[in-house]
Amino acid sequence: MMLDLGDLGFEQGAHILLQRALGPLRPGEELGVAGLDPALVMHVEVWCRAKGHLTRRADDNDDGIRVWVTRGRADLDRWVHAERAGGPSPHGIVNEPPAHWGLAARGALVEPGGPPIAADLASRELVWADLAPSLYANAAASQWDPATAIAWDAPVDLVPEIERAVVQVMTFLVENEQAALVVPARLLARIHPHFREVLQLLAVQAADEARHVEVFTRRALLTGGEMGTSSVSGRESLATLLREPDFSMASFLLSVLGEGSFLNLLTFIDRNAPDPVTRQVARMARQDEARHVAFGVAHLQHQGTLDRTLLGRLRGAIEQRHETLISSAGLNQDVFDSLVVLAAGEWSPAGIRRGYAAVQQLQAEMDEGRQHRLVRLGFPHDEAAELSALHTRNFM
């Protein structure tokens, strides 16, 4: 066997050709190397020494061959115990991917060894939902640009008290969106990257929330005023979401109950918005929230088929959160009143009566929606009604 390197030198990548030529040889077989680079022999020796190949300099009568390489086996030995990290498609997912696969692409040939990844959510049972790949694809296709999706220059000319109510609602939404951003972001960092579609979905979910934070903030500041208030009770309620370490419970409390209630809230704002910008930001956010709820429900439905204790644990999670928040004031009174004023749209007894009724209607719809989703997870109707009533008065 012979390799002619022409005038290519080892400072210019000649090792790539040499490596390719050695590849098919068996350890112990010899390859003659020819070439014009004056430093060729020395550099072949250096490269081969480092890679575990042996060399000997050619005699003058070796027909242009300047150095002989005896193939070693270090490159083969490196991959002797290598294994595929499952397969690239969702069918290739394994139940318990080992920690040392770490960040390797699913389906990659993994050199054994290396640092174990600190992912405590590393079992298919805990994190996977068959709907994840299609939800991710749908989510990726549904991304929108806050700069162009909203007609920011549409006329917004509300009486000051109505504007202040809108600003207060937006301030409340931003606070909740920030919780909705942090929770999936924390979870995704704990999931083994082998379940990449789940990571991707949570990443897009976090990106969705980033946009929601942006558009609600931008609407709040549109008329040049200050942000509204943030109450202790609101932050207490959200803090319990951030404290939940269990993936399924966090997904239940945030996505199924919290974001589920938010679907109704955003519909309410869309329907009652006193200006086009407020209507649009609520409508755009609502599209994304529907996906977040869908994944939460799908994930828990899947969990329910694997784990008969799931419903009991979900019940426990609602009850525990209720206990924690029992002494809390519940929904910020400013927020409640602002929703009424927002829906009233005018500063008159008739308007306030209409707004107040609309907010009561909203709370009934939220309750109905929660019960409906609880039933889909397998709770009997009476228990669903009882649990829905325990949900935080803060909506999320």
Binding site: E11, P38, M42, H43, V46, A50
Partner: protein, 279 residues
């Protein structure tokens, strides 16, 4: 009894490397620990006097510890070496556009070398030039003195001096000629090699008589059994730059022994006699 090895901390990675070997050897039944030295001379003295059982020795420190031990009636053994420690060469390099065709042309010229105690960038190539009766002005780049050339800063400075035109030639080991070419210190095609030394050997694991023959044999056997297929071993080998351990040998050290004698670096009993060497 724990076998205690010395190593020189020429780079922070030394801690990772020998910490890894320590764990591996202990896991495989050989009680092993190591101490770090800031330079090779103290390690050579401690090995020769039996204060440590073994040392990861530079070729120069092998020569000194062997001479010191022999002078006091002890024997040291080069137990194993890396596959990459065998048959290295040092090169005499000039600029491609220079008139020098052969090392004889360098007579009376200025030649850049590495640190005073670098076997590959100073002692061996200067001995090679002397053996050809080529008298030159030496410009030395003393970086990391005491590390016996493990710190390649001086060698790189010599290469830079060659490129900048302040010297006629520079001395470096073959692997650094390629490294400097790849990293751009020596632009590709800008140099010519006009001389190369005979092959010589580099580091070895030297063991003294403070441990039993059995321990010495066990140590050698364990090291030689380390396999590049083992995921625990491979990262250590990659870091230390070997693909397997080879049995130690002395046949690759005569050129350096000669160079040491010619320059009076150490005397026959291992005393440091180089005038301007302060590790």
């Amino acid at each position: 009894m724990t076998l205690l090895m010395g190593a020189v901390a020429y780079d922070p990675k030394v801690v990772t490397i020998w910490g890894g070997f320590r764990s591996w050897l202990n896991d495989n039944g050989l009680p092993f620990d190591f101490v770090l030295y800031s330079q090779y001379e103290r390690q050579a003295e401690d090995l020769a006097q039996g204060r440590i059982d073994a040392a990861w020795n530079s070729p120069l420190s092998w020569i000194r510890s062997r001479r010191l031990a022999q002078a006091s009636g002890r024997t040291l053994t080069p137990l194993v070496m890396r596959d990459t420690d065998r048959d290295l060469r040092s090169l005499i390099v000039v600029r491609a556009d220079s008139p020098f065709k052969d090392v004889a042309d360098l007579k009376g010229e200025t030649v850049a070398v590495g640190a005073v105690d670098s076997p590959q960038a100073t002692l061996l190539p200067l001995s090679y030039l002397a053996s050809r009766n080529v008298q030159v002005d030496v410009r030395r780049f003393d970086v990391g003195v005491g590390l016996h050339g493990d710190h390649i800063g001086g060698e790189r400075d010599a290469a830079r001096a060659l490129v900048s035109g302040t010297v006629a030639a520079a001395c470096m080991i073959d692997s650094n000629h390629l490294l400097f070419g790849k990293e751009g210190t020596l632009p590709a095609g800008s140099t010519r090699v006009i001389g190369q030394t005979e092959p010589f050997d580099h580091c070895n694991m030297t063991v003294g008589e403070t441990v039993s023959d059995q321990t010495r044999a066990d140590f050698a056997e364990l090291l030689l059994s380390m396999s590049y297929t083992d995921p625990k071993v491979r990262p250590l080998f990659d870091l230390e730059g070997l693909t397997r351990w080879e049995p130690g040998r002395v046949s690759g050290y005569p050129p350096l022994e000669r160079a040491v004698d010619e320059t009076g670096f150490y005397d026959a009993a291992g005393a440091v006699t180089a005038a301007d060497y302060r590790p």
